[in-house]
Symmetry: C2
Subunit: 303 residues, 2 copies
Amino acid sequence: MVAARTSLSEIVKTFEDLQDEITSGLEALDGEGRFHEDRWLREKGGGGRTRILLNGQVFEKAGVAFSHVSGPLPEAVAAGMNAPAGTAFDATGVSIVIHPSSPRLPIIHMNIRYFCMEGGNEWFGGGIDLTPIYLNPEDAHFFHAEIRKVCDRYSVEFYPKYKKWCDEYFYIKHRKETRGIGGVFFDHLTSQSPEERQLNFEFTRALGRAFVPIYAELINRHRNEPFTEREKQFQLLRRSRYVEFNLVYDRGTRFGLETDGRIESIMMSMPPQANWTYNYQPEKGSPEAFTLEMLRPTDWLKG
Amino acid sequence: MVAARTSLSEIVKTFEDLQDEITSGLEALDGEGRFHEDRWLREKGGGGRTRILLNGQVFEKAGVAFSHVSGPLPEAVAAGMNAPAGTAFDATGVSIVIHPSSPRLPIIHMNIRYFCMEGGNEWFGGGIDLTPIYLNPEDAHFFHAEIRKVCDRYSVEFYPKYKKWCDEYFYIKHRKETRGIGGVFFDHLTSQSPEERQLNFEFTRALGRAFVPIYAELINRHRNEPFTEREKQFQLLRRSRYVEFNLVYDRGTRFGLETDGRIESIMMSMPPQANWTYNYQPEKGSPEAFTLEMLRPTDWLKG
């Protein structure tokens, strides 16, 4: 049996549909907020639909962006890929960052992407990772177990490999802590055969489809919990670490800034508010101290 | 007449004394807040005194840091300077960032520094620049005129040259705007003669001494002005641009992060709170629109 060769336009359509499914799912989950859409065109080819929900019942800021850009490879990018300047490319993806209002609810990030260029080079990339304000081992176990299930449907090698990659990628070197509890991350996933290509595509899509149900479970577990001012302050501090990661290390953000991407779509990931507290030291034995201690690569499925 | 050769220890002492003068001056200006000091040691040599004033009458967060670090040049730094790894160096400086509570008052930054290494290479560096929340042309004129006076006492070439350098340095490329209204900035100021070295030292010191009186005038002009919630919100947005500059572009910050500097001293420059508003568009003809339009290199002394 020959694997179907999913075309570029089918991949683009899949990603667009995923954005629709996800924004509908998140609106239902929030129960009140609605996404506002900005359509934009890229001068040198392609464009996108950036959707933002602000000040909902649960989500203070939720961004779900679809884009499909094309044209000749920007010079800086071509150089990094050892490709001749001007090589034609297509890049498409869906990117999500959600900042809930309540410190009892975790920040989440998901991204799936596909890249191809003249000459036949192509790859898939993506990932999903969770940044709880307060670490909750049961939630961490649930999150990783669900993601592992998705991975295992395609290859039992995926979860361990991409989980490790995620821990390494979302590491805030100067704080000596991970951004959150990780998840999976993969990039430049090339294929040696049509079958493998189809598997990589379906895996990437499955991750996108798993996003809403997994996040909904975590939200519903904790959405009605009251919280204190101290917890709110800790959320604002944890968000500033999120800002630090994104502006200092995140390749997607830095790539966007360097290549003059649509600034409002790049900065969509920023929290609505972040606080920096000089020399913050959590109280010994507190949930804040526990969280900061646990922000390191951990096997959440063990035991 | 032979120029005095100011020794390393005299430079260090000058900078330490400047920190004392500046923190006393700022406490007097604030009228209520007091600096808290953290002394720290660097594992490989030297250390510093980081002083922070929080939640004063005028200043929400003011940081004034002195440091004098020494030892063998870190590998990455040595490579960048074409120096053999392990070359001995001394670096000393005073760094200031102040975030007032009121949006009627400008953020200010000042830094003076001296670097020398085995073999005789040495230089001075520094600068002072202002980031108003709301642009006020009279204040901008005053600020630049005062700085120019300091510069002109040493060389009439300094102000135009270092003003331009400042505009180029404090540019937020991805926003296509300057961080504020600039000031002066200079780096790697080497000397061809003992006289020139003494001049560069005295100029650097003079800039440090001019800091408090210039800033005090700006604070006193506006400290009693009431402000609105809309102005406060604009301040929080302008502060997020400050964060973006510091984390994405500032060489001092990035150098500190890459060389594993004392994180709390590096992050001293961060505002206590910053907000990101998706796709903020100022009202046409508003003071916010005026400010954003004016955030580009401008000759404030003209006319």
